[in-house]
């Protein structure tokens, strides 16, 4: 038998047959491949048609102008005939500010608005490290938002001008020295606390000085007693500063130079303002705590390891609701007498711990996924523990854990609705209940929940898309 073969002319490439490309191929493979699939496809189409048929008129008959639910229904019946149903979005005209700001006085709305705008400016250096183009887009977007929103909120002229100077200054800084923006990120938490709760301008300044005390003590002590004890001493010194020195110093300074904005009580917070304050603060602080806990759990030092494991397992083993009740009822007993710890602050602390415990386990997974060789190579080059962690181990471990970390963040943000159970007016239950108790809107059901749901979805979807962007950007393995 002849096995010899040699090709004389090469074949030109041809397009695939019609049935093997595009929508036809897709439909044939995915919708109509077997009798069962054909049946399921038909059934699916019928279900979709039924859903659209029953829900579409409700959306189409939406009413945006009415002063009560009964007026709404009358309008719907007048235009679409008796028995027709329609959404009554007119409720939002009255209640939108409740959903967004809670009971925050309308004259002071500019403060949460400014906090939100500056939040993006403060997050941008962390989210888009060193990428000038993205930094500029985010900060310019924040500036634009501030111009419009502050104008609509009838901001006092001085505050408006100062806000503009600040955000435009940040925009300029992003052009000249993007790395310096991180300093704004560091002072932002104090600025936000002051803007939202108000009071003397000296509160955030003296409060931030506590971190200065921490750093100062750490630097002074670390050559003598080593890094870890010095850090502990610094924390103790800062705690003493906040507990005993902070308040008198603020009072003195306020006596000398009385600048400030009106104080707002925590029970005036509500709606998405409350959810965002709790969510953003807890997200920001839970990540570093989670990292430290994850490293602590892997430590060779018995005490550090035991404390980390104990903390993680205890917090994870207790439902968040229990922790929230602890925050609202029990925590007062553990604090020095006379200190009145704000309820929102207490909730933030416990939500932060809760998220940190979950993050620690997520990050531990990332750490475990790294090959031993990475630790050994870092060791062999003479990097000490903290540098090896910061430069080699954590960047890779965190990258592996991004999807799970962001899931935890999304879960945390949605969990902020649980604070409704301890009497705070979060948007989903707290504010919605108020709307439904309003005599004008008694009986309204879908509209407030849909409104709240849409806003939650937009925020969570945004976080999810950002995490996908980050994964793509950090992909260096080229597999």
């Amino acid at each position: 038998m002849a096995i010899e073969f040699s090709r004389k002319d090469m074949l030109p490439p041809l397009p695939p047959p019609v049935s093997e490309r595009g929508a036809v191929k897709w439909a044939r493979e995915n919708l109509f491949s077997t009798p069962l699939n054909i049946a399921l496809t038909v059934l699916g189409v019928l279900v979709i048609l039924w859903l659209v048929k029953s829900a579409l008129p409700w959306w189409l008959n939406s009413v945006w102008n009415a002063s009560s639910l009964s007026e709404c229904r009358a309008i719907v019946e007048a235009s679409a005939g008796a028995g027709a149903t329609g959404a009554c979005w007119a409720m939002l005209r009255v209640w939108w500010s409740g959903f967004i700001f809670g009971f925050y006085p309308s004259a002071e709305w500019w403060r949460p608005i400014l906090s939100l705008g500056l939040l993006f400016a403060a997050l941008s250096p962390a989210l888009f490290a060193g990428q000038k183009r993205n930094l500029t887009i985010v900060i310019a977007g924040a500036a634009l938002f501030l111009v419009v929103a502050l104008y609509l909120a009838e901001t006092p002229a001085t505050a408006f001008v100062l806000s503009m100077v600040l955000i435009l200054g940040l925009l300029a800084l992003a052009q000249v020295a993007p790395a310096k923006l991180l300093w704004f990120t560091l002072i932002y938490p104090a600025l936000m606390l002051w803007l939202l709760w108000g009071g003397s301008v000296w509160l955030p300044i003296v409060g931030m000085a506590g971190f200065g005390v921490l750093y100062f003590v750490f630097r002074l002590a670390s050559p003598f007693i080593g890094l870890a004890p010095a850090a502990g001493l610094g924390v103790v010194a800062a705690a003493l500063w906040w507990l005993y020195i902070d308040v008198p110093v603020v009072n003195q300074l306020q006596g000398l130079l009385p600048f400030g904005i009106p104080s707002i009580d925590s029970d005036e917070f509500g709606g998405f303002l409350l959810a965002t304050v709790i969510g953003v603060t807890a997200i920001t602080f839970s990540l570093p705590i989670g990292i430290l806990l994850a490293l602590g759990r892997q430590s060779d030092m018995l005490i550090v390891k035991t404390l980390s494991v104990g903390f993680i397992e205890f917090i994870r083993g207790v439902p968040l609701i229990t922790l929230l009740f602890t925050a609202s009822l029990l925590l007062q007993y553990f604090l020095p007498p006379g200190t009145n710890f704000d309820i929102i602050l207490r909730v933030i602390i416990l939500v932060t711990f809760f998220a940190a415990a979950y993050l620690a386990e997520v990050i531990r997974g990332g750490l475990a996924a790294l090959p031993r060789g990475q630790y050994e190579a870092a060791d062999a080059l003479g990097l000490d523990y903290w540098r090896a962690q910061r430069l080699i181990i954590l960047p890779q471990a965190l990258k592996i854990s991004i999807p799970a970390i962001v899931s935890t963040f999304i879960g945390l943000f949605k969990d902020t609705t649980l604070v409704g159970l301890i009497g705070l007016y979060e948007p989903l239950k707290g504010i919605t209940q108020l709307v439904r108790a309003d005599t004008n809107w008694k009986g309204i059901y879908w509209e407030p929940y849909i409104f709240v749901g849409v806003i939650f979805f937009v925020i969570c979807f945004g976080m999810s898309r950002y995490s996908m962007y980050l994964e793509r950007k950090l992909k260096t393995d080229h597999r």
């Binding site: 062999a380 003479g382 990097l383 000490d384 430069l391 080699i392 890779q396 260096t476 393995d477």
Partner: protein, 255 residues
């Protein structure tokens, strides 16, 4: 070439190991190791798998801890003192079987990271040094790629360059060619031979007997955690003394 290389060996002692023992739990991995390495010596360590040869060189920069005896590297004794350990590690370069490059950093960043953070070299100077060593291992054009984009042989040469950037006085090689395709082994060995000719003190765990014959001035054969035989390469290969060595050589050179 081997003759010329031998002349560079000085009387200065680079590594001194006396009465060293190591256990993994109950398992006695290294048993009464005594060895002295002179500056400029190039030592090849071979032996069957599980004989403790990798563990031995990993003890020298304390990736593994020994429980008994003494290891003195460059005049610094390895104890639990972290300062001593970091000092020894920054003087001793190590090349691993699986390269262990940092996948999230570019080649250039891999090379400059330790000089910048451990040696406190200014960034620009560190980059110049890095480019010098990349040229030396013949891949300067890959500087801005990521490790994942390079072939195994290229990655191992980057790993050698990364160690050299710390200007080490001693280099440890832990089976540097075992994870490579046959075609790439040569390019890595060439780099190592070049390094040997420049007088670097080297300890190589390897089964490349050609390399041992070309550049080593001592071959150490280990089995069951002990040094069974050591000699000059020529004597070691042509006239092994112990039965165990003869058996080992007949198996690895038998085909």
């Amino acid at each position: 070439m081997a003759e010329a290389a031998k002349m560079q060996v000085s009387d200065e002692i680079a590594i001194q190991i006396t009465g060293m023992n190591k256990w993994y739990g109950q398992f006695h991995v290294l048993r009464d190791i005594n060895m002295t390495v002179q500056r400029g010596e190039r030592i090849v360590i071979c032996g069957p798998s599980g004989s403790g040869k990798s563990t031995l060189i990993r003890c020298i920069n304390r990736l593994e801890e020994h429980q008994q005896g003494q290891i003195v590297v460059d005049g610094t004794e390895l104890t639990n003192d972290l300062k001593n350990i970091d000092k020894v590690r920054s003087e001793v370069g190590m090349v691993f079987q699986h390269f262990n490059l940092f996948p999230h950093l570019t080649i250039l960043e891999n090379l400059t990271l330790a000089p910048i953070w451990v040696r406190k070299v200014p960034k620009r100077e560190a980059e110049e040094t890095a480019m010098y060593f990349l040229s030396k291992v013949k891949i300067p054009e890959q500087a801005h790629k990521y490790p994942g984009q390079l072939s195994g042989g290229q990655q191992q040469r980057v790993a050698i360059a990364r160690s050299l950037c710390m200007k080490p006085r001693i280099m440890l090689f832990d089976e540097p060619t075992s994870a490579l395709d046959p075609e790439m082994i040569k390019e890595v060995l060439d780099t190592m031979i070049q390094l040997a000719q420049e007088g670097m003190t080297m300890l190589c765990v390897t089964h490349e007997m050609g390399f041992a014959q070309a550049v080593a001035n001592r071959v150490i054969f280990m089995d069951q955690g002990q040094i069974v035989e050591q000699n000059e390469p020529k004597e070691f290969f042509n006239n092994p003394k112990s039965e165990r060595t003869k058996l080992f050589l007949s198996q690895i050179l038998g085909h």
